[in-house]
């Protein structure tokens, strides 16, 4: 964050572009690779940087379109969603908060909300439930983090084995590396080239899924 602020303060546009392009081509270093879109969003937020936005657009627009094609099943609506979502990315860049998650998560939620409101408007109701009602864009008050330590004994239980196999593949992969191969969260993040936050989220989700399964076997 500090670095990009300094960067925009002292370098001209072409240098900036070069720097961004360099960052995009480095694929061996995960730290930088996972930070590129957050940096680009920061540049857009700070000074409506069109080059940084163009890079974001080039990556996300085709992916959002593919996503939209699956959801809507037609190109016209998919493109409408892409335009609305990417316009929000441009206009609301200042609302992006990297401490709450990475850029692709933020853009995913924007597209989800756009899609929801598009489908509602099609039914043309005025007083209606909107995406803003359903998905809070902000921070809930801090809560004490519940540790996952007491889980270790339950995880040993043989009864859980079949449920472990039934986890979604992405969650099972992370759990396997952390609990069976005893890797640190950071090592798993590096190995799978996913952000650290995603590793932690997938562990919590897998634990919760196992807890539901465990409670079911008890009752």
């Amino acid at each position: 964050m500090l670095e990009t602020t300094a960067l925009t303060g002292h370098h001209d546009a072409s240098n900036r572009q070069k720097r961004i392009t360099q960052r995009m081509t480095i694929t061996t270093d995960n730290e930088i690779r996972t930070g590129q879109w957050e940096d680009a969003l920061t540049l857009v937020a700070l000074n409506e940087d069109k080059l940084a936005y163009a890079e974001l657009f080039k990556y996300f627009a085709p992916r959002l379109k593919a996503f939209g094609m699956k959801m809507f099943g037609n190109e016209q609506q998919a493109m409408e969603m892409v335009q609305d979502a990417m316009l929000n990315v441009w206009r609301k860049a200042r609302l992006f908060d990297a401490s709450r998650g990475c850029a692709s998560t933020w853009i995913f939620t924007i597209a989800r909300n756009v899609r929801f409101d598009m489908l509602r408007k099609k039914q043309s109701r005025k007083d209606d439930i909107s995406a803003d009602d359903l998905w809070f864009d902000g921070d809930y008050p801090e809560q004490e983090s519940n540790s996952s330590e007491h889980w270790d004994t339950i995880l040993m239980s043989e009864k859980l084995a079949p449920h472990f196999d039934a986890l979604p593949p992405a969650q099972r992969m992370v759990m396997q590396k952390v609990y069976l191969e005893e890797k640190s969260h950071q090592e798993v993040s590096d190995e799978l080239a996913i952000p650290l936050g995603t590793v932690k989220s997938r562990i919590r989700l897998a634990l919760d899924r196992l807890r539901e399964a465990f409670d079911d076997t008890r009752s």
């Binding site: 609302l95 998650g101 998560t105 995913f108 809070f136 995603t198």
Partner: protein
């Protein structure tokens, strides 16, 4: 507010909520539950991060990659960004509203605050009052107030009934429900919810079909089922 939430929507509903594939009325009940439940706040946050990873995994066809996007980029970047003032507003804490019924004022969670301010007038029937939220014709979302020491006649659900406790407490044959608890009753469930002698209750009620009253004289209520629906 020290009540620990015991009844949650469960992972499957939360996943569909995050995905945006739940029907709007059900999603609204889930969203209001999340406002009241730190556990599900964390879970839905994690599910969002997990699902968002699929965006990066989309297969992009060569056609889409090379499509001429320039016109769209030019249009978007010619638009003004958000003003500093609206950025400030959006960063505020969750908004809450309040409603007054039976001389009592209750705080309403964020998800419902905009709609609750526009609620229809309260309809009274004994110790029970109900007010519809303006959420479209096909949806039956209402605030349900039950005075202390009152029983809702035994009924069956012709569709899905979701009840979220917003204040106070209700009990039925299956247990006791406090603030944040989400009761989900399917067409097979029959129950007789009531309040305790010393505490009234405000709930959010989402119904996908009218209630059907089962017993004796209360069967006469069936013509009044519109009252709840």
């Amino acid at each position: 507010m020290t009540h620990a939430v015991k009844f949650h929507p469960g992972l499957m509903l939360l996943e569909q909520y995050v995905e945006g594939s739940l029907s709007a009325d059900v999603a609204l009940a889930v969203s209001a539950h999340i406002d009241l439940c730190p556990h599900c706040q964390q879970l839905s946050h994690d599910i969002t991060i997990d699902q968002a990873a699929s965006l990066g995994e989309q297969n992009v066809s060569a056609h889409d990659e090379q499509q001429d996007w320039q016109q769209m980029v030019d249009f978007i970047t010619s638009q003004p960004g958000l003003s500093a003032a609206s950025v400030q507003r959006s960063n505020a804490l969750p908004q809450v509203a309040s409603v007054t019924v039976n001389g009592r004022t209750f705080e309403i969670p964020r998800a419902l605050s905009r709609l609750a301010e526009k609620h229809n007038k309260w309809l009274q029937l004994g110790g029970i009052a109900t007010a519809k939220l303006p959420t479209g014709e096909k949806q039956h979302v209402s605030l349900l107030y039950i005075d202390k020491g009152t029983e809702v006649p035994n009924h069956t659900h012709l569709g899905l009934e979701m009840t979220l406790v917003l204040a106070g407490k209700i009990v039925d044959e299956n247990g006791e429900y406090g603030v944040g608890d989400l009761l989900i009753n399917s067409p097979d469930d029959t129950h007789t919810p009531r309040t305790l002698a010393d505490e009234d209750c405000l709930c959010l009620s989402v119904l996908s079909a009218p209630l059907k009253f089962n017993k004796g004289l209360t069967r006469l209520l069936n013509p009044l089922q519109q009252f709840f629906y």
